[in-house]
Amino acid sequence: MNDINISILDKTYRAGHVDDRQHQAIADLELSVGRNEFVCLLGPSGCGKTTLLNMIAGLDSHYQGQIKIGSQAAAAKIGYVLQNPRLLPWRTVRQNIELVFQQAPPAELIDSLLTAMQLDDVQQVYPERLSVGMQRRVAIIRAFAINPDILLMDEPFVSLDAPSARQIRNLLYCLWQQRPHTVLFVSHDLREAIALADRLIFLSPPPMRIISDIPVTIDRGLRNDSSQIEAFRETLLNQHPAINGLL
């Protein structure tokens, strides 16, 4: 059963170039993501991954083709961790998280997420007083807290130090296992992607299309073992030499 069906014929936009030239970001992209599947998108920077996520999130509807989300009539809840944190500077950390709820915010869930992200002490602080890494963690909590049906993450661990990145990666993984939901995850880090994903999608430079679509066959129980990840990565790069040039 598919959760997201993407079929984009053409996505062209004004590139902000001085001579007003058009930029074709995506051409003939077909991608289906199964329900509760964890998919990593990998590709060179500027290849159109963010554009694709924006289109899935419904922020950008100027394209030819279609994106179908969810099989039920009810609209799927989408949590979107954008590339930059995008917190409201005039609302506290806590208020920023609570604002994304239509109904009363679940205090316990927010508390536990704040604790897990080590942000207890700064709940009542305005975001601009926090480091970018901390702001990023708040943005991640905001997306986790709504219990999304689909979680879109655009390089969420960039600008975090290695230990926090590892910790949040583990948290993401735990949450996903506790409550399965569909995840589309953009990354630059092949090891990270192998450790997390069911499937790796390698994307070309623009106009973006899929170069290869590779299932990660390591058992979920063995993903903590870095030698397993390393071995899978070696085989992958040997079998698909084209990938090396993309990352």
């Binding site: 924006n54 999130a57 419904g58 922020l59 989408i78 979107y80 954008l82 930059n84 995008r86 409201l88 500077p89 005039w90 609302r91 604002l99 994304v100 239509q102 305005y126 601009e128 007083r129 905001r142 709504i146």
Partner: protein, 253 residues
């Protein structure tokens, strides 16, 4: 208690500068020794008399009422139109020329035209003030709307914020500094225009009184009325605008 000390120091400086200003005035008055430059004490006496006779409070009240009405109308209309023009490029391109024209019509011309076309009426007076102030508000708020953060609006959209939520939590805090700027410049501009409006076509209010004092060469009363007005505007700034600013800008680093 560094902030307490700082505040004390600040108050001392304010007091000192005001006392110095009074001193200069007193000195100049003693040197000139003319009824056209009365000393501070004489003005204070006139001020007290005018308050006790009820004349000053009446005319001040009338003018303040006109100020509140014309200010509210121009702020409400100006914010609505400003946001609209900031959002809609076609409308903006169309009405931009009108704005430039209205911005550059001298206040006196609008006032005279309003009185000529609609008669020496209260509504004509208010209209004249509004027409003078409105373009300023529109231009300020339009700039604010253009400067709205697209990233935050996208965030609001991706989390399905309702219109009201977006307005209250995303748009309003960004427009706030622009609204405050329009308010401050608006108060300063409007009360000056109102005086001219009253001088030309009303039989009460500060402008009318000032005109009377001019004809009588009564400089002491003129100064007394001026200080009453300046004091009121300062009170509005201290009791209303500053606290509003402090509350809204807590988050700033």
């Amino acid at each position: 208690m560094l902030s307490g000390n700082l505040r004390l120091k600040h108050t001392a400086i304010t007091l000192l500068s005001l006392v110095l200003l009074l001193g200069i005035w007193q000195l100049a008055a003693s040197l000139a020794h003319s009824p056209s430059l009365p000393p501070p004490l004489r003005v204070a006496a006139v001020f007290w008399q005018a308050i006790q006779s009820g004349e000053l409070p009446y005319h001040l009240g009338v003018t303040l009422l006109r100020l509140v009405v014309s200010f509210s109308i121009s702020m409400l209309l100006g914010c609505a139109i400003g946001v609209l023009l900031g959002k809609n490029k076609t409308l903006d391109a169309f009405f931009d020329n009108w704005l430039v024209i209205f911005l550059n019509i001298p206040a006196l011309v609008t006032i005279i035209l309003c009185y000529v076309w609609f008669g020496l009426l209260e509504s004509a007076a208010i209209l004249a003030v509004v027409v003078n102030k409105l373009p300023n508000v529109i231009v300020t708020i339009r700039e604010g709307t253009r400067a709205l953060d697209k990233d935050l609006l996208e965030m609001a959209q991706s989390y399905g914020f309702s219109r009201k939520k977006t307005l209250v939590h995303v748009i309003w805090p960004q427009l706030h500094p622009f609204v405050m700027a329009a308010t401050r410049s608006g108060l300063a501009l409007i009360w000056k225009i109102i005086l001219v409006v009253e001088l030309l076509g009303r039989s009460n209010g500060m402008g009318y009184q000032l005109h009377l004092f001019f004809q009588l060469f009564d400089v002491a009363s003129l100064l007394a009325y001026t200080f009453a007005f300046v004091a009121v505007i300062q009170l509005i700034e201290w009791l209303l605008l500053r606290p509003l600013d402090r509350k809204a800008l807590r988050w700033r680093r």
